[in-house]
């Protein structure tokens, strides 16, 4: 049971790390889509099929496509490739911070006296999930709906904007 988990984890983590370090933007975005798929697989392993499919649908489908669009829209910034010297020190700091956070979290996880539950896989049917959503969490469902529409409209307004002013003047 655990070995499947470990393999999944390692795969996902690997793709994520590589995506983050690639020079070429397109490659990293595509690799990232693989990461999302890995996470969806983890959900499946955990037994939460609905979440897995939601993950697949949203992240792999929508978000990566949106990112791709964004990358294409901002294509001609060629100079991104040559990493300026500052990036070198920036990477070191970032790695240090990341490592520190990882270390702390792993220490916390290992030390925490978490009760290990029995190996039973609690299953939740989509009907149950729907009842939950429409029952106890109806208010939050509505809130999320509103959030999504507002975000959508806001994104359109921001991105569309008016005719491009001269570069350099304040927005």
């Amino acid at each position: 049971m655990n070995t499947v988990l470990v393999i999944l984890a390692l795969a996902t983590l690997g793709t994520a790390a590589v995506a983050m370090s690639l020079r070429n933007l397109l490659h990293s975005v595509l690799l990232l889509t693989a990461t999302w798929a890995g996470v969806a697989a983890f959900y499946l392993w955990a037994g939460a099929e609905f979440v897995a499919f939601a993950q697949l649908l949203v992240y792999v489908g929508a978000i990566s496509m949106a990112v791709l669009f964004a990358v294409l829209l901002t294509r001609h910034s060629r100079d991104d490739v040559a990493a300026p010297p500052a990036a070198r020190s920036r990477g070191v700091y970032a790695a240090a911070a990341g490592a520190a956070v990882a270390g702390v979290l792993l220490a916390a996880v290992s030390l925490a006296p978490l009760a290990t539950a029995p190996a039973r896989a609690p299953a939740v049917s989509v009907r149950q999930l729907g009842g939950e959503l429409m029952g106890a969490h109806a208010a939050s469902l509505l809130a999320v709906a509103v959030l999504l529409t507002v975000a959508l409209v806001g994104a359109v307004v921001l991105a569309a904007g008016g005719p491009p002013e001269k570069p350099g003047d304040t927005p």
């Binding site: 970032a94 911070a97 990341g98 956070v101 702390v104 979290l105 220490a107 030390l111």
Partner: protein, 674 residues
């Protein structure tokens, strides 16, 4: 309550009504105001005669009517009026003389444009004088007394556009006011000691034996018995009003007023008010005679002042060149006689002399008025002369008045009243000095009256005005004739053979004295009168001066004395030098104190305030503010430093969050994780 006592208050009220009506009539209402004034005086005269008749029924009784004026504390202030022979006689005298003078003024003031105002003030004066006469309460007497002073102020300053008249009015009011202050203090002391100011109030009036008794027993105030001190204070008021020695300076200047005013006020009535007051409160003033312990008796002072004034007035009168000034000083001298008579203890002689003097002095003043009126206001006797021929009635009446004043024996009233005064002086136990002063006075009086007669009526007319002076109309000469008859007739009321007046006034039957008993003194006075007339005739009658600037025989004989007397013994200059300067000094001191001492203190405080203010702001600036500013600077520096953290680098923020998270997590894990 006999009817006349009931209506006695009308006697002053009628002229007062006339005065108020006169005040309201416009300048044009000449006939109306004169008519009302004369009618009021006639009414007052009629009521006075009725009152006299009622009073003479029982001469010793003091019929009194008191009423409550306003309530004060537990008691009340009461006023009242009094009917007794003295007040009735005075009422008759004042209203009769007043009436005659009002009629005289019709002619004398006819061309003056303030005619209505003149009669208004004259009625006011008459009302006030009658108020003094009938008052039973010293407070009512004081009120009328001051109103008499006001009327004299208004009438002296009647021609107020003349600066001399305005100054004379002020001088008169101020001088009499000084005397009145003494009277006020006397009243207040009396009020405080006895609790009432009523003269006669059924037993506890001020002049009644009971109250006088406990007054006498009071502790000596500053070495003087209380009644003596009070009497002296009251005498101050009387001296002020009657022009006695220290306070006589205003009377000669008061001649600036129109002649009827001089006649009524400064001859007959007002100046007599002082004598009347002393006669009225005579029981109080003479009470201290009985006090053995009293070192100084009030009446001695009165007699002394009276004698001095008599001599002084007569002496100065001999050297005056102004017709009215001579008569003014003569009045001062005669008032001295009255005070002398009071001083020596015989108030009846004083009142008798007052009554006769009122008539012949009013007569002399009106005659002088007639002369001045005819000679177009020429008053200097050196420029008059020869009027005997052209103004026969005035000359005749003036001669009657002169002889009455000089005391020509037997026929004229002046002789009898002066003889009564001298007789009383001779019987005075304390000293014979007043008698000698009186006798010298008799000579001087006869001398200056003859001088006056000769200068004005005999010899050539010495100026154009004197030349074409003509006799005046009837309205002026008729009062002269009536007064002349009075000057003669009145004498017979009080002759030693038939002392009607004394019995009427005192209420006790008086045994007639035979002529012989006092004969020596009478003979002496007749000789002295003759001597005076002779000297006068010798110097002025034999060869009357021919021109206005001819040298006066008296000044030829004794130029320095004549000059000194002519300048009124330089008393005015003396007063100006002493009191006048003291006054201005006091004013300067007060003003100096205000500007520099108190003003300076306030200024110093203001300066102190400013100084502390500046010190305060200095300390503020350098001390507090500086400290405060540097502190705020430091805070601003720190602020700027922190703001550097807001660099805009989003990733910087994230990094900081991450580091912070790590630190916190470590704390939780290593620290209180349990």
């Amino acid at each position: 309550m006999p009817p006349s006592l009931e209506t006695l208050w009308l006697v002053p009220a009628l002229p007062l009504l006339a005065a108020s009506l006169g005040a309201l009539t416009p300048r044009g209402g000449r006939r109306f105001s004169a008519g009302v004034a004369i009618a009021a005086m006639a009414g007052a005269l009629l009521l006075s005669c009725l009152a006299l008749r009622a009073a003479l029924l029982d001469p010793s009784a003091h019929l009194v009517h008191n009423f409550r004026w306003f309530d004060l504390g537990n008691g009340a202030v009461e006023l009242g009026w009094l009917l007794d022979p003295l007040s009735a006689l005075m009422c008759v005298m004042v209203s009769l003389v007043g009436l005659l003078i009002f009629i005289f003024s019709l002619g004398y003031m006819c061309e003056d444009e303030n005619f209505t105002r003149f009669f208004c003030f004259m009625s006011l004066f008459a009302a006030a004088m009658l108020g003094v006469v009938i008052a039973n309460s010293l407070l009512l007497l004081f009120i009328s007394w001051e109103l008499v002073g006001l009327a004299s102020y208004l009438l002296i300053g009647f021609w107020f556009h003349k600066p001399a008249a305005a100054a004379a009015a002020k001088k008169a009011f101020i001088t009499t006011r000084i005397g009145d202050l003494g009277l006020l203090l006397g009243l207040v002391w009396l009020y405080d000691s006895t609790g009432s100011l009523l003269l006669y109030d059924g037993g506890n009036g001020v002049l009644e034996a009971g109250v006088l008794g406990n007054l006498g027993t009071m502790a000596l105030a500053g070495g003087l018995a209380v009644p003596t001190a009070i009497s002296l204070l009251i005498f101050c008021g009387a001296a002020g009003k009657s022009g006695q020695f220290p306070l006589h300076v205003w009377l000669p200047d008061a001649m600036e007023g129109p002649t009827p005013v001089s006649a009524l006020i400064h001859a007959a009535t007002m100046v007599a008010a002082g004598v009347f007051l002393i006669a009225r409160v005579f029981p109080l003033i003479s009470y201290d005679q009985a006090l053995a312990a009293d070192p100084l008796h009030a009446l001695t002072v009165v007699a002394a002042i009276g004698a001095v004034t008599a001599l002084l007035g007569a002496a100065i009168a001999t050297a005056q060149s102004d017709l009215k000034r001579v008569l003014a000083f003569s009045t001062i001298s005669q008032l001295g006689y009255m005070m002398l008579a009071l001083g020596v203890g015989s108030w009846v002689a004083a009142i008798f002399h007052l009554l006769t003097h009122a008539f012949f002095k009013a007569l002399l003043f009106l005659a002088a008025g007639s002369v001045i009126h005819a000679a177009h206001h020429e008053q200097d006797i050196r420029r008059l002369g020869g009027l005997g021929r052209t103004m026969r009635t005035t000359y005749a009446t003036f001669a009657v008045g002169m002889m009455a004043l000089s005391g020509v024996p037997f026929l004229f009233s002046g002789f009898w009243s002066k003889e009564a005064v001298l007789h009383a002086a001779s019987e005075w136990a304390v000293s014979q000095l007043p008698l000698y002063a009186g006798l010298v006075g008799v000579v001087l009086t006869a001398f200056y009256m003859t001088r006056l007669l000769c200068e004005v009526f005999w010899g050539p007319a010495r100026s154009p005005e004197a030349a074409h002076a003509r006799e005046n109309t009837g309205v002026i000469t008729v009062p002269l004739v009536i007064l002349a008859i009075g000057s003669v007739g009145l004498g017979f009321l009080g002759t030693p053979a038939w002392p009607w007046l004394e019995s009427a006034l005192t209420g006790r039957p008086v045994a007639p004295r035979s002529l012989l008993e006092g004969g020596g003194l009478m003979a002496l006075s007749i000789v002295l009168v003759a001597a005076g007339l002779g000297a006068g005739w010798a110097l002025y009658g034999r060869k009357v001066r021919v021109s206005a600037d001819a040298k006066d025989p008296f000044s030829a004989a004794a130029p320095r004395l004549f000059g000194f007397l002519g300048a009124r013994m330089r008393l005015d200059e003396l007063y100006a030098a002493t009191l006048g300067r003291l006054n201005t000094l006091g004013a300067a001191l007060a003003d100096f104190m205000d500007r520099w001492v108190w003003g300076g203190a306030v200024g110093f405080l203001a300066l102190l305030g400013e100084f502390t203010g500046s010190v305060n702001s200095e300390v503020d600036e350098s001390g507090l503010n500086a400290g405060f500013n540097s502190a705020s600077e430091r805070i601003r520096g720190a602020g700027r430093a922190y703001s550097g953290a807001q660099s805009g680098d989003a990733q910087g923020y994230l990094r900081t969050v991450a580091v912070a998270f790590v630190v916190l997590a470590l704390l939780v894990l290593l620290g209180g994780g349990r």
